[in-house]
Amino acid sequence: MTIPSTSPAIELPEVIQRSNELLAGHQQTIWRRTDRLFAGLLGFEWIAGIILALWRSPTTWSGPAASVHPHVYSATILGALCIVLPIYMAMTRPGFILTRHLIAVSQMLMSGLLIHLGDGRIEMHFHIFGSLAFLAFYRDWRVLVSASGIVAIDHLVRGMFLPQSVYGAFAASNWRTLEHAGWVVFENLFLVASCVQAVREMRGIADHRALLEHNHRDVGRQVQERTQQLNDAQASLMKAARSAGMAEIATSVLHNVGNVLNSVNVSATIVADRLKNSEISTLAKVSELITQNRGDLANYLTHDERGRLVPDFVTQLAVELESEQKMLIGEVNGLAKGIEHIKQIVAAQQNMAKKVTLRTAVDAAELVESALAMQGAASMSQIEIVRNYDKLPRAMLDEHQVLQILINLISNATQAVRETAPGKRQISLSVCRAVTENQTMLRYQVCDNGMGIAAENIGRIFSHGFTTKENGHGFGLHSAANAACEMGGSLTVKSEGINLGAAFTLEVPITFAEESVSCNR
């Protein structure tokens, strides 16, 4: 049964060519296999013929004298001659077209020989019809033509010269010839039809397989194309993500730097104001007075009403200038720290791309104080700071990451308590050690009694873009939470609700240099 193929691809030249190759290959396999099968069969028939001759007619007699019967010679020599060339071709050139035609001719010749050795018995004639059926194994109807041709030639030739050997009569009727031929044609009709049908089915299989190969290649090509498209899309997404990440990083830098810039700006303003209103200008006036009365300075300083005030004024001025200097030095130091922190922020964000974490030994309490100092005195005015620092040894952690988080938390706390009545604003800062699941953590807490967080916002407080501030960007807490996670820690929040304050807890894993008092959860 032919396998139907309705795909238009079956008409493609490459599919047709491949189908032809597959069909040819399949046919070659069949021909080679059948050649070798017949090589064995012919050999077997030769041996069988010899045994038959030795069994049925080993000797011929002339009175009492016996001699080897000619049947033995014909079985041995003629039989060998009949099979030698076909067997040679089957072993050396299997699948060759000449090989199978020689085999067909030889098989029919062996039929004749065996019939001769078998006394022409009717049963031996079955060998002819059986041989034709075996030759159909080739699925090549032309082979049947060769075999039938030998039978026809045999009947024609012997019919002309030795009719009694074919039909048992010296004058045979033409109808007898047709009767013999008719039986051969009868069998060949079905065998030829079978061969043609078999080849048709093989063609269908070849077409089907060629089409499958073509479709498989096509699918393979499409898969490659889609994979490439996916890879390209992934690259684009990564690029976009990278850009988004870079934007986030840039935003983080801007936000964190912005936080520090506030205190830097305040410090710079204070220094500028202080320098502008410095008492040094008063010193200039005193110097002018002294210069004006240089000629009679002693008398001026002792007897002049104004002159007598100069020494005490200078002394007081010195104290004021010293105090001013101390304050300016403090503000400049704060300024330097802020600038250094900005530098570290930028460096930290740059290192983020390289995934480099810098851990240094820091004093955990000093870190809080540094973050507090970054807020600036002005923003911390009228806020009570409650400190609860455990005595802890220096801890190995990413100083600037933690500092940045604390700056964010303290900045938020100062903004949160702005709505609280002055005198009642309070921010509590604590540092202690905690042990969770066999890991040592450093726990910072920033608690305020400010505006608190509504219950419905607690779950979103760390989300990117979420803010309750009028001018907020929703980035600080998100960035702080990410930073905590990157360090292997966590940032959590608790709030009883609106106007009930909030408590942010930062935990980061650390290693201590020494043992210390630890707090319980």
Partner: protein, 211 residues
């Protein structure tokens, strides 16, 4: 049909020599030679198959001194046999067919020639078959006198005498040496038994020599 060549042969137009360029052409020539040799071999076989023994010269009537009994009203068939002749198997088979077809009209005598320094004829395959044939008698011819009475020379030779003892057929009942099947001899005997005029009275005999 035999698409053998992938290379072409060239013909030298000058002297008509065909140059064999490739093996396929050589294979074809070998195949033709092979086939011719086989034809020659079969020709030899067929020649032997149709080589008959000497023609019999029977007497015109049943020999009166023959130690074979005739039955009144029935034809008498006498077949001469060499006990070991392989070709006579076919003759025996044809005789079986005749006797099976004509059980009441003919009586057969199968005369076996006892050969010197050979086992007794009763031990041979042909004798054992002969004694199985209905209305047939196996007879031992110890010294060849019976075959001489009938003028027989070849195993498988058949003599048919009608109910009056007149010779009606002499010859073989196989078409060729050792081959069963239809033959002019069997057809002639059947015609005599059917009271039809026979096509011929004598046919070639294919078998071993009795003497």
């Amino acid at each position: 049909m035999l698409n053998l060549t992938h290379r072409k042969s060239q013909v030298d137009a000058g002297n008509g020599i065909v140059h064999i360029m490739g093996k396929p052409a050589f294979c074809r020539i070998i195949a033709i030679i092979w086939f011719m040799a086989i034809i020659a071999g079969f020709a030899i076989v067929w020649k032997f198959d149709v080589t008959a023994g000497p023609m019999p010269h029977p007497s015109a009537s049943f020999p009166t001194n023959a130690p074979l009994a005739r039955e009144a009203g029935r034809a008498t068939l006498v077949m001469m046999l060499h006990p070991h002749c392989p070709c006579s198997r076919a003759s025996m088979t044809e005789l079986e067919k005749l006797m099976g077809t004509n059980p009441l009209t003919v009586k057969a005598h199968l005369v076996f020639s006892q050969q010197a320094r050979q086992p007794d004829v009763s031990q041979s395959e042909l004798w054992k078959r002969a004694v199985q044939i209905p209305h047939a008698v196996a007879v031992k011819d110890s010294d060849g006198t019976v075959s001489s009475m009938f003028g027989a020379h070849t195993s498988g030779e058949v003599f048919l005498y009608d109910a009056d003892g007149i010779i009606r057929f002499a010859g073989g009942i196989t078409a060729s040496r050792g081959h069963e099947g239809d033959s002019d001899g069997r057809a002639a005997i059947q015609a005599v038994l059917d009271d039809n005029a026979p096509a011929m009275m004598q046919t070639p005999v294919f078998g071993c020599s009795l003497r």
